[in-house]
């Protein structure tokens, strides 16, 4: 085990991250590096240690980044400090990825030896190049029967423009190639620059919340030094603090006297609420304030919205608490109170993307034991009205009267889609169905094509990923970035049950999609609402115009057989239970709609 005493000189520090497509083995590689560097005893070791949340562990994705300092002794007896900055692995968190990359000098670009280069690999590589990082390609999972390292080398050459012979072959799972990777980190990634004598500038690339210590800032010191007792200022927040503790991110926090230019570590400054800081902000010294901030801050902008209701109205308070707690560690999550006549009290929540939405929903359910109902996800539209005002609308409830609307715009994305050449036809068909605006095709190799497509964000919110996987037989992948707002023809579709609008089911959709979407809702609702003793009409409407309709036939028999030998009690108890069940249903007009009907309609994503 390397000597841990005394600071490691800056020329022996390496700051790096691992970038990879989901499931290409990033967390497993991180675990192996941590194990090899003695960062954790076997007893402490748990598989995929960096993914600390159960949810991340289960889904095999990293949502909240963790970082760790490793000590690595080379063959020549030098001890290097390797700061592994973890990065989240999904498109929703692309800005977090960027912030992580900003704190590094190099990146391990992990490619699955069987899957090869995927859309996200390309996207990540471009970002790494943007920040001038030294990229070390690693071909992982070479132990798999389907591994084809030679083909992957070709892809690395043709699709990423990297030297394929610099790629390290590894199997993180079996611990193969780890030594070579550590060598490459030491020899190919440059030491951090920066002058410890300059005024302090440190980038807050992440933060954690500690129940006892408050906010723990994870920082990359770019210039100068930060030490205990310093008075510091958060530039963007314009707040001053006294540094209580600085240290290294070993598996447990390890206090040190000073973090100098180039170092990655943590700082505790007596900040109580995570809302009081901004990830990406710059820390400076109040005594010797640097004049310019580091690039890196961007307001987290939710792009996907959904209304979240507790299944049991009694859980409203608990939901509010839970959202408060989650947002402590997740500043990108926004929420505000909302009321629905059908569903009662809930919250309109904003998310970075669909995965973010899924993750929040699952954490609310799993960690807080809540049963929830989520409305169909929506994007944020821009609506200009006749009076010259511009409204941002993500909630159908606030959609202005169409009579006063001048124009509407919706967000577009540029999707980068990597597919086998033979899937071009079906993928173009899928894209056309999704209101494709423009597309460009790059033939990357003899077998693979990249489609650059511009299309509305709203069109990838519903089952786009699943459909892409289906039409490409599992070989397609995509990534996207937000592009701009473009003019659109938006309508608000209402769902009526016997003429009464069910507010929780209203949605904003493109004119072309209104009819199929409305019909899909009507049909699912018709299946889920039990028969009544009268006919129920379920309609989709735009304003006063009916665009879809289904009926639930009237119940023509609802009377049980005889009361056996005068046994009235059994029958009465059954009716009592049924009457109780009715009370828990939502009443819309004269129709009783069970919660399960809302769940059935809302949870299955409309394919239309």
């Amino acid at each position: 085990m390397p000597n841990t005493s005394g600071p490691v000189p800056i020329e022996l520090v390496r700051n790096f991250c691992i970038i990879a497509h989901i499931d290409h083995g990033k967390s497993t590689l991180a675990d192996r590096l941590i194990q090899r560097c003695g960062g954790v005893s076997d007893r402490e070791f748990r598989d995929q240690l960096l993914d600390s949340m159960d949810l991340e562990r289960e889904r095999g994705i990293t949502i909240k980044s963790n970082s760790v300092s490793l000590l690595h002794e080379t063959k020549h007896g030098e001890t290097y400090q390797l700061n592994l900055i973890d990065t989240p692995g999904h498109v929703d968190f692309s800005h977090e990825v960027r912030r992580s990359l900003m704190s590094c000098e190099g990146a391990l670009l992990l490619v699955d030896a069987a899957q090869g280069v995927e859309a996200q690999t390309v996207a990540n590589h471009f970002v790494a190049m943007e920040y001038d990082l030294e990229v070390v390609p690693v071909i992982n999972k070479i132990d798999l029967p389907a591994a084809d390292p030679e083909r992957v080398r070709e892809e690395i050459d043709e699709e990423l423009g990297l030297d394929p012979f610099e790629a390290v072959l590894a199997s993180a799972k079996k611990g193969e190639g780890i030594e070579e990777i550590l060598d490459a980190i030491v020899t190919r990634i440059p030491p951090p620059g920066g002058d410890p004598a300059d005024p302090l500038r440190a980038l807050i690339f992440d933060a954690q919340y500690d129940t006892f210590r408050g906010v723990v800032l994870l920082v990359r010191v770019v210039d100068g030094e930060i030490r205990r007792g310093d008075r510091v200022r958060l530039m963007r927040g314009d707040t001053d603090h006294v540094v209580e503790e600085v240290g290294l991110l070993r598996l447990r926090r390890e206090p040190v006297d000073v973090l100098s230019a180039g170092a990655v570590g943590y700082a505790i400054c007596g900040i109580k609420r995570i809302q009081d800081i901004a990830i990406g902000d710059t820390v400076i010294d109040t005594a010797r304030p640097a004049q310019t901030s580091l690039p890196g801050y961007r307001e987290p902008r939710p792009v996907v919205f959904s209304s979240v209701y507790p299944i049991s109205t009694d859980d409203y308070g608990e939901l509010e608490n839970a959202l408060g707690k989650l947002s402590l560690n997740d500043p990108a999550l926004t929420y505000e109170r909302e009321t629905s006549t059908a569903l009662g009290f809930g919250f309109r929540c904003g998310f970075l993307g669909l995965l973010h939405l899924d993750v929040v929903q699952e954490r609310l359910q799993r960690e807080h034991g809540l049963s929830l109902l989520l409305s169909a996800p929506s994007v944020r539209y821009r609506v200009s009205t006749r009076d010259g005002e511009l409204h941002e609308v993500e909630n159908p409830a606030y959609y202005p009267d169409p009579a006063i609307i001048d124009g509407t715009e919706e967000p577009y994305i540029r999707a980068s889609i990597l597919i086998p050449e033979r899937s071009v036809g079906p993928v173009m068909e899928l894209l056309t169905e999704r209101r494709l605006a423009t597309s460009r095709m790059n033939f990357l190799s003899s077998r693979r094509v990249e489609i650059q497509a511009e299309l509305p964000l709203a069109e990838v919110l519903f089952d786009f990923h699943d459909r892409l996987k289906t039409v490409t037989h599992g070989y397609g992948s995509y990534d996207y970035e937000l592009l701009d707002y473009r003019s659109t023809r938006l309508v608000k579709v209402d769902i009526l049950v016997n003429g009464e609008r069910v507010d929780a089911l209203s949605q904003l959709v493109h004119e072309e999609k209104a009819r199929p979407r409305a019909l899909g809702y009507c049909e699912r609702l018709a299946e889920a609402i039990p028969m009544h003793n009268f006919k129920i009409a379920i309609q989709g409407a735009i304003g006063g115009k009916i665009i879809a309709r289904t009926n639930i036939r009237a119940l023509r028999k609802d009377v049980t057989a005889r009361c056996y030998g005068g046994d009235v009690t059994r029958k009465r108890k059954l009716l009592e239970r049924q009457k109780e069940g009715k009370k828990r249903m939502k009443q819309v007009g004269n129709v009783q709609i069970p919660q399960s009907a809302f769940v059935a309609v809302l949870k299955s994503s409309p394919a239309a």
């Binding site: 009377v559 005889r562 030998g565 005068g566 009235v568 009716l575 009715k582």
Partner: protein
């Protein structure tokens, strides 16, 4: 003996009024069958044949139970249900009725009814005449079907011609009330094939009452186990509703008017004198294993131990064989009154209802009643507060749904507090 009236003189109006039964009833459960039908979940045990030792033990315990429960009940109907009462010797019924009269439980000459299996009447050509000699008023025959394959499916021991023979023997013997039971809704049954069976059943000379029930598959029965294994034994519920309406239409055309969701009679006087007591919340005492009782003055329902041995054991210890009792709270009683009365064409008299549970309850449901009327589910005789809500056929078909829709919240405060 009462002549069966000429069907042309029948009023087809299902709403024909008859005075409600007022005197209490006595139900006697005979827990024996020679074989157990696969759909049955009554309290029954197989019995080798009449005269066996278990039957003697039963008779002894039953007469003792009548002693234990002696009270001034004065029932004017004594109904032997089962099980298979027709397995008992012909003299058994009058003996029990007399014993009940002696204990004050029955009037001196009550109407005696019994349930019978057709094959028992076929095997013993004298049986019907013996019953008539014992002044049995009515016999309810477990015909269940006239289609041979349906009879086999239902595990019945008789065939269609046995059923016809049994009915004719009862009629020839002069039994005044002859009822046949039918179970419909077995898998594959269509409204057309059901109509054929019903027409044939209604045409059996002497039949003046028909009970037609949809097959319900109960857990714990052979059918329940077969369904659990994935077998389809009954029609889907939508088809069941078509069959329900086919039953009502066909029987009406055949001269049988519905007076309850599942019961039909050729004339008001042939409505079941005993079963109507269940639907109109009249007092009744049940004796024998698993029998249920209702004591409206105490607002109490209670029922006997279900297993023969447990029932017998309590009696031999000199105790009433009651298994459980419940005292109905106003909400429960009102709910019972709603769902039971709305099963019958006599309907729900609102005046009495509001006298018992308060005007507020009726007022709270006035709009609902209006909707029911608008949908043709009920008719209102009289005014909104004191009239009588009478279900139409469409209403009878959804009586349970109507009971669920009733707003009885004004009565739930005491229930929630309890």
């Amino acid at each position: 003996m009462t002549e069966r009236p000429d069907s042309t003189s029948l009023s087809p109006d299902p709403l024909t009024e008859t005075p409600e039964p007022a005197a209490p009833g006595l139900y006697v459960h005979v827990p024996f069958c020679s074989r157990i039908c696969p759909y049955c979940d009554f309290a029954v045990t197989p019995l080798g044949g009449p005269g066996s030792e278990r039957l003697d033990r039963y008779r002894h315990a039953l007469l003792t139970e009548l002693e234990l429960r002696a009270a001034a009940l004065g029932a004017d109907t004594v109904y032997f249900g089962g099980g298979t009462p027709s397995l008992a010797p012909a003299g058994f019924f009058r003996e029990v009725a007399l014993a009940a009269s002696e204990r004050g439980l029955a009037s001196p000459s009550p109407f005696i009814f019994l349930e019978a299996n057709p094959e028992d009447l076929v095997h013993d050509p004298e049986l019907a005449r013996q019953w008539a000699a014992e002044e049995i008023w009515g016999v309810s025959l477990g015909v269940q079907a006239l289609d041979e394959s349906r009879l086999r499916f239902l595990g019945r021991a008789h065939n269609a011609s046995d059923a016809a023979v049994a009915v004719s023997r009862l009629a020839e013997a002069g039994i005044p009330w002859i009822s046949v039971d039918l179970i419909y809704g077995t898998a594959g049954q269509t409204p057309e094939s059901l109509r054929e069976e019903l027409v044939a059943m209604a045409a059996l000379p002497g039949v003046n009452h028909i009970s037609a029930y949809e097959l319900s598959i109960e857990p714990g029965t052979p059918f329940g186990r077969r369904r659990a294994r994935g077998e389809t034994l009954a029609v889907r519920s939508e088809d069941g509703s078509a069959l329900f309406h086919a039953v009502h239409e066909t029987l009406r055309e055949s001269g049988f008017a519905a007076y309850e969701a599942c019961n039909f009679a050729t004339a008001p006087e042939f409505r079941s004198r005993h079963n109507r007591k269940y639907w109109s919340l009249v007092e009744y005492l049940g004796v024998g294993p698993s029998a249920h009782s209702f004591a409206p003055e105490r607002g109490e329902r209670f029922w006997n131990r279900r297993a023969f041995e447990h029932w017998e054991e309590a009696i031999l210890r000199g105790e009433e064989p009651t298994a459980e009792r419940e005292t109905l709270r106003p909400y429960e009683r009102a709910l019972e009154e709603v769902f039971l009365r709305l099963r019958t064409t006599d309907g729900l008299p609102l005046g009495g209802f509001s006298a018992r549970y308060g005007e507020a309850v009726v007022r709270a449901n006035r709009r609902l009643f209006g909707k029911w009327r608008a949908r043709g589910l009920v008719e209102l005789r009289g005014d909104e507060m004191t009239g009588c809500l009478r279900p139409t056929r469409e209403g009878l078909a959804v009586a349970d749904a109507l009971a669920r829709e009733m707003n009885l919240d004004a009565l739930t405060a005491d229930r929630d507090a309890a």
